[in-house]
């Protein structure tokens, strides 16, 4: 391979990685939020189960961390939160908070 071609490919790949990194974050949030949507309406409606889209990113993150730490007060949210890594909690909180804006 000639040096010129190699550098062109390299530029493309660097851009690809950084851009798909950003897009990927949003995608991961959307895919994780699909799990929330099995019980929480993400359009702001609903009764009986608290709405989560207007809590804001920080409160959502803190709530998930608290649910992950303890079985009380809600074992369903405990089971869900236990399956999430810190990074996943951050990306789902970001995505869900954005739905409320």
């Amino acid at each position: 391979m000639r040096p010129v071609a190699r550098s062109a490919i390299a530029t493309g790949l660097v851009l690809l990685v950084s851009q798909s990194g950003a897009a990927a974050g949003a995608d991961q949030g959307a895919q994780l939020a699909a799990t929330c949507a099995s019980c929480h309406r993400l359009d702001g409606g609903g009764t009986g189960i608290p709405s989560i889209i207007r809590l804001g990113e920080e409160r959502l993150t803190n709530a998930l961390l608290a649910y992950r730490a303890s079985e009380s007060p809600n074992h369903i949210m405990h089971a869900i939160a236990l399956s999430l890594s810190d990074e996943e909690i951050a990306s789902v909180a970001r995505y869900v908070a954005a739905q409320g804006k």
Partner: protein, 422 residues
């Protein structure tokens, strides 16, 4: 698939490159086509999530019925606590809001080699990927004497619809003091706690309207899920009304006599005023013909992509699959459907893949204002879906906690049916 020459590849940068890689693999052709067979919980969820997450995919949903009646919450209807209409959901939103082509026909045959599906109106659909979610069928000759005619006398009410209303009518016209018999099938079957939830809610109806009536559960098993929670509730709410007989006591149910409305076990014959016979199950008929089921009658799948282990290019979700530790529930069908939709979108459009999260969450009614819940998360381990985290309500919980769970269940129904049908 187009192969890039080095020069073309070099000229593409950044966003252009990303867009190019996000195109359907079948470049130059029309959009990639996904056909989904079965507009129940699993199928409708796959269709909706494919439609929202990948505009480059054209989604067609094949479902014979004009509207879907949920099995979940049908026990509340049977107990007179919910109108039948409230269980019914149409396909208008999926068609209009999400641009899914909904075809109200039933699929007759699948031809995996040709990648086509034959419909019963004689037309044929071609696909790049196929998703099959036909739910359950009843095993032939599993119970002597329980045929289609017997079902009209002793309903199963295990596919919600006319069977459910038939059972409700029979319960309403039953005399006070009558015996209601429920026959519970062997594992695996759709919704393991549902027969016992049904007994609980119908007991609450009897208590209000026919206090001398009795309920007899004839089980094919010797124990059941959350047995402590159910038996505690039966003693508290309906003392003396519900009797559960495990297979070890009766020898198991061997036959049905519809003429006398009797259920025959190894050791005795029980004559019912009303009987709900839930037969042994297998995956929906279509998959049996299409070579998607193994000898067990259920469909083996890859636990990450839900692609058939027997026919490449065909995915399956819901009750029809061998789900490992995942029970046959609407919640699981919906959870699997999302993982499957994201996997198909990634394959066809190159969108990013992330580890899937699979759950079951279930609210089960013990009485109108007493429900318990459980939550389980699953992961693929050695090719099988294993339960890794599991929590369930406890017997000693306060009645306030249970009341809250019953209220949360209502909210779940609303959010969940929105998630599935839009």
């Amino acid at each position: 698939m187009k192969f890039w020459t080095r020069r073309e590849f070099g000229r593409l940068t950044g966003a252009a490159l990303l867009t190019a890689l996000n195109q359907p693999k079948a470049r130059g052709q029309a959009k990639a086509r996904v056909v989904v067979i079965g507009g129940g919980i699993g199928g409708a969820t796959v269709a909706r999530y494919l439609a929202v997450s990948a505009t480059a995919i054209e989604v067609t949903l094949v479902e014979p019925r004009q509207s879907y009646t949920t099995c979940f919450f049908s026990n509340l209807y049977l107990a007179g606590l919910r109108p039948f209409k409230s269980l019914s959901h149409g396909y208008e939103a999926l068609a209009k809001q999400y641009g899914i082509t909904v075809i109200h026909e039933s699929a007759e045959a699948i031809h995996p080699a040709a990648k086509t599906v034959a419909l019963n109106n004689g037309s044929k659909l071609s696909y790049d990927r196929l998703v099959v979610a036909p739910g359950i069928a009843f095993r032939d000759r599993a119970l002597r004497g329980y045929d289609e005619a017997a079902m009209e006398i002793m309903p199963h009410a295990w596919n919600a619809g006319p069977q459910t209303s038939l059972l409700r009518q029979q319960l309403e016209s039953m005399e006070d003091g009558g015996l209601f018999v429920i026959v519970v099938p062997p594992n695996p079957f759709r919704c393991p706690p549902a027969p016992y939830e049904r007994a609980s809610l119908i007991a609450s109806y009897f208590q209000r309207s026919k206090p001398k009536a009795k309920i007899l559960i004839l089980d094919s098993k010797d124990s059941f899920n959350a047995q402590d929670l159910f038996q505690d509730a039966w003693n508290r709410h309906y003392p003396g009304m519900i009797e559960w007989l495990p297979a070890q006591f009766t020898g198991g149910v061997t036959a049905i006599d519809a003429k006398t409305r009797s259920v025959i076990t190894e050791g005795a014959t029980f004559k019912a005023a009303v009987a709900n016979v839930i037969p042994a199950q297998m995956a929906g008929r279509l998959v049996q013909q299409a070579g998607l089921a193994n000898q067990s009658g259920w469909c083996p799948v890859d636990p990450v992509t839900f692609e058939s282990a027997l026919q490449p290019g065909v995915h399956l979700v819901g009750d029809a699959i061998i789900g490992g530790d995942m029970p046959k529930s609407a919640f699981c069908a919906n959870s699997q459907a999302k993982a499957c939709a994201f996997a198909i979108a990634a394959d066809l459009t190159g969108s990013a893949r992330f580890p899937a999260h699979l759950f079951n969450t279930c609210y089960t009614y013990l009485a109108p204002d007493d429900a318990f819940s459980n939550a389980i998360s699953f992961k693929p381990v050695d090719g099988k879906l294993k339960s890794v985290i599991s929590f369930v309500s406890k017997v000693e919980e306060s009645s306030e906690v249970r009341r809250q769970a019953a209220r949360a269940a209502e909210g779940w129904y609303d959010a969940f049916t929105h998630d599935v049908f839009g």
